[in-house]
Symmetry: D2
Subunit: 341 residues, 4 copies
């Protein structure tokens, strides 16, 4: 069986397991107060060129989104998001669970547009009855988006400029950050991205870790008592050093970027294959998620050999399916996939 249904179908990069084994009986203090977490944070700060950043390791993506938003928003504020944002449609209402409204604006293949953002913020500012409505207290975007698309440097610069103009923090969901940064179409470096937002996370779960996301508050702006908030949200891992070791490993010898590049290379090879085989792409994704329009009649055979993801039904006889490559995809997996397409 070939695994393309998501980028989190394998446990973790072997080097991570090796490090956990090696340190198994070290006897670390709990809750992320250990040296591995310390070292990992230093490595990430260095990679981001953000010496003042404050970093916390969290177990998963939805948890991170909920926690970051609940701590950067005032209780009466909402968060602006594309209507296609992961927090809006795929997190079971976790943001609302913490009391906040999601203020949606259009998503275009997953991306928001600066003009829509500005219009939304201006409309609130101009509304005489605004005190009866929910003010935006942050902007949420994902990089890459849920559709595999990415923002260019100029797009992100414009968006962040608007956020600063209206004095709301920009939070970037980086669950697949490495797959975005390693895209051939990406004109942003990690430090550049880190300087164009207020908080983001370096996704681990989908990038070769057993679990874990590194939340980076980019300029000494971690909310007060964040540790307590993490605990209060049930998100504090007892054996916090396990997250530290993983990010220590991912940020040693550029492993994080190498894993990202592997997925992108495989994805580009796959995209080429899909085009050659005559498949219509649902959208032109520059990252590790590729979307093909497939005749329904071909699916049963494909499903026998390949794990893929259902995306949507554009019409009665076709299906859009998603192929996700990842840190563990091997180039030869694409070759084998070619047989079934």
């Amino acid at each position: 069986m070939l695994f393309f249904s998501s980028d989190y179908q394998q446990a973790c990069h072997p080097e991570i397991l090796r490090r956990i084994s090696e340190t198994n009986f070290e006897g670390n203090p709990g809750y992320g107060t250990d040296d591995h977490c310390k070292t990992a944070k230093e490595k990430i700060k260095e990679a981001c060129e953000t010496p003042d950043a404050e970093i916390f390791f969290i177990g998963g993506g939805t948890q991170t989104n909920m926690l970051v938003l609940d701590t950067i928003l005032a209780p009466y504020e909402g968060v602006i998001s594309a209507e296609t944002g992961h927090i809006q449609g795929h997190e079971a209402g976790a943001v609302e669970f913490t009391g906040h409204k999601i203020l949606t604006i259009p998503g275009y293949e997953g991306k928001i547009r600066a003009a829509d953002l500005r219009a939304r913020l201006r409309a609130y500012a101009d509304d005489d009855n605004r005190e009866h409505t929910t003010p935006a207290g942050a902007l949420y975007i994902s990089f890459p988006t849920e559709y595999g698309t990415i923002y260019s440097k100029s797009e992100l610069t414009e968006i962040y400029g608007i956020c600063r103009e209206y004095d709301i923090p920009l939070f970037i969901d980086g669950a697949r950050l490495g797959y975005g940064l390693m895209s051939p179409e990406c004109d942003l470096t990690l430090p550049e991205l880190a300087h164009l937002c207020d908080v983001f996370y370096v996704g681990g779960t989908k990038m070769g870790a057993l679990m874990g996301e590194a939340v980076v508050f980019t300029h000494a702006n971690m909310p007060k008592h964040f540790f307590t908030s993490v605990k209060q949200h049930g998100a504090l891992l007892a054996k916090g050093w396990l997250l530290g070791i993983q990010f220590e490993t991912l940020f040693t010898d550029d492993l994080y970027f190498k894993l990202g590049k592997n997925a992108i290379d495989c994805a580009m090879k796959l995209k080429k294959l899909l085009i050659e085989k005559g498949y219509k792409l649902h959208l032109d994704s520059p990252t590790n998620q590729q979307f093909a329009v497939v005749e329904d009649s071909l699916l049963p055979k494909l499903a026998k050999h390949v794990n893929y993801g259902f995306w949507e039904k554009p019409d009665d006889t076709h299906t859009v399916i998603r192929f996700a490559t990842g840190w563990a995809t091997r180039p030869e997996d694409i070759d084998e996939l070619a047989k079934y397409l």
Copy 2:
């Protein structure tokens, strides 16, 4: 350095790491829908002799307490707990974060008494103004308690009887369950305990797992859409099979019980040692946590060689310290500890 400050200072039992390595590239489906979770659940149901139980694996203890209570309580209900309960004093207000009041009754070395429970429930029932107050919707106890003490079969039977009489579920926090069940003073088996409550968890984090707690709804009473609630609370692990593999391993060849027994054997050896050395025990704990009253002047030397936990200051010249043995404690660690006491 000797590690006695908690039972979660080492990563996990080597067999667990071996199994994760072995299955690293299996390509499992996410979110606990895999076969390892399925097998692990079957093994736990068998060990509990609860064929109708419904089980879910959660990442950590506070998260589990918050999630179970928020899903078994009606939104206007509170939970009864000893004032010394972990949820009351050590979870950063996670239960209240989900909107519920904790209704405290006295704790006696961590344990509640049936008479106090009954009095509380009767007082509400007898109160003409009760609709202005928070009704109890569940009882929370821990086994062993935060003080290492355990309920006897007759005590638990009486407590559960009251819960059934007043129609509220009993939830047992089993973060250290194995250390309780393996105590020489415990007259309860796992199946007996499982049949004397409505929901409990088999703690993994403190019992040799990297992380994870197995929540057991004992009689097909998992709350509706529990999966969605888990996600909504940010508690759904993407690579859910990692929890499955761990519990699969812990419930193979009685590993869970063996690890519990090891900790208890070490704890009893330690207790004997403390008594022999003339230390006053703060309380007579039958499980893996032992509490000794130590002269403050001895602490600096001890701290050089031993990781222990601060418990409280009974007076100006003494300190109560906690020694926690665990799955990873070796009998020779106690011998070495003897040198420093």
Copy 3:
């Protein structure tokens, strides 16, 4: 000055004040346990022809919406609403404050369409990943809507049929209920409406009461411990009989309907006037809210004599303004308004 900016610019119908004066020193028990509340409930049940209804009086509209939704939804459920629904855009996120997501569908001049509702419910049912998303636990509609429009009997019947098919309660926001029922275009009676939903409220605040909304659970379906939930939400009025007296008065000698009719008669007279004067109506409202497109240059003069509401800017030189008639509008007010249009 003429008051057309809302239907709650005057305190209350004089008969209500007379009754409060008359009963001032009666010495009633608190929290709605008095006889006036009892009588008022009987009168409403009779008017609705719902002998099994359970009724509670709440102070205001947003409070009622928040409270009803939070008590009829399971904690993980959301509520379907038109994107133009009052709860979505004008209540400062009160529904999300209680932890629930609003699941929006299109609004057409304020009304939802059965097809959109069915599509939304079916999409959830058909989604293999639905457990990662928020299930709908209720439908919210307003009657009349925020745009003054009303559902016909056949429309409401179809919508309620879908709710029953998918087993979700239908909640009707009746803040302006009387203005809807008394519309010449309304083909629904109060009993018919009451039988086509699970819970609705008879709005008092906008219909001649000082304050207050009568929440009607139409078939003995008031949520358990609703009184406690009301208190928990801060919505329990100490002097509850004040609400009872007001609804007692409104439902004596058909006062509620007479007040509704007065507003509608004035609104229809106003609409005729607007058309005669050559104003373009923004939409064809059959109830007490009338929307006219006005040249911006006329507004300063109008504003000198008339209190009206700003609605929106359709272009750079025009404004849509809202005229709301109400229980206190006098026919001669329309005559006077004619001078300024």
Copy 4:
């Protein structure tokens, strides 16, 4: 029937009704943006000698407590309260509903002691594991307390000093404020009290208003976007001027204080009567609530003529009952009560 069961059994002072009638058709703007609210705020600021105060009118006491605490606390903070505080036992968990823990300290006839407060705050500051626990973000006390007792100037000064030392705001629940200030034993004036706290409310509901509490943030410290938070909590009254008119009236010609004095005069007369009649007082209350220990055998006869409140059962043959005088109590009511005691 004599009404002593609470201080909110009559609707309101006749002057208030007269003013509402008089202004019935004024056509005020909604939501407290009217001139009556403005005037009322000025009058209260003058009475408090707090020119920088910011004031908001809220409908009821539980609502006010919930709202003030939820807006002055950070989301992860709790509030310190006597275990006998109204928020702890009689508000159906409204504070926890908004996500906050109540951190209880002992209550002595309703009052907290400075030493307990300091100990609690110091314990947190000294706790190495404090980040796992809920920090106090405010202190809640009531004046008078639920037991009718009051703080002296020196007690309040000491308590407020501790709050300032630990940088947490002091919130005083003044549901019965006027009854406290008019007590012969009170050595605090309204301005003095206002300068010894950060936020308090002037209770209206129990002091002659139909409803309403005036929340006073004493030094330009109203939380940002408080209006929006009020709306979000469902606590914004559409016809806000009704609250304005009531406080305008209460703070004209010292009516508020006169009503307070009337209740106190009646209460002192009642207390004297109880002592003369040989009743044991449950506690020595200096305000409008008086507590007498009564033989159970006398209760049936008493209940025929007198509305009183049940307080508690000290033993099998006695009951502590509460007599509450109020703004509407007449001296002759006490004379008549004498017949039944």
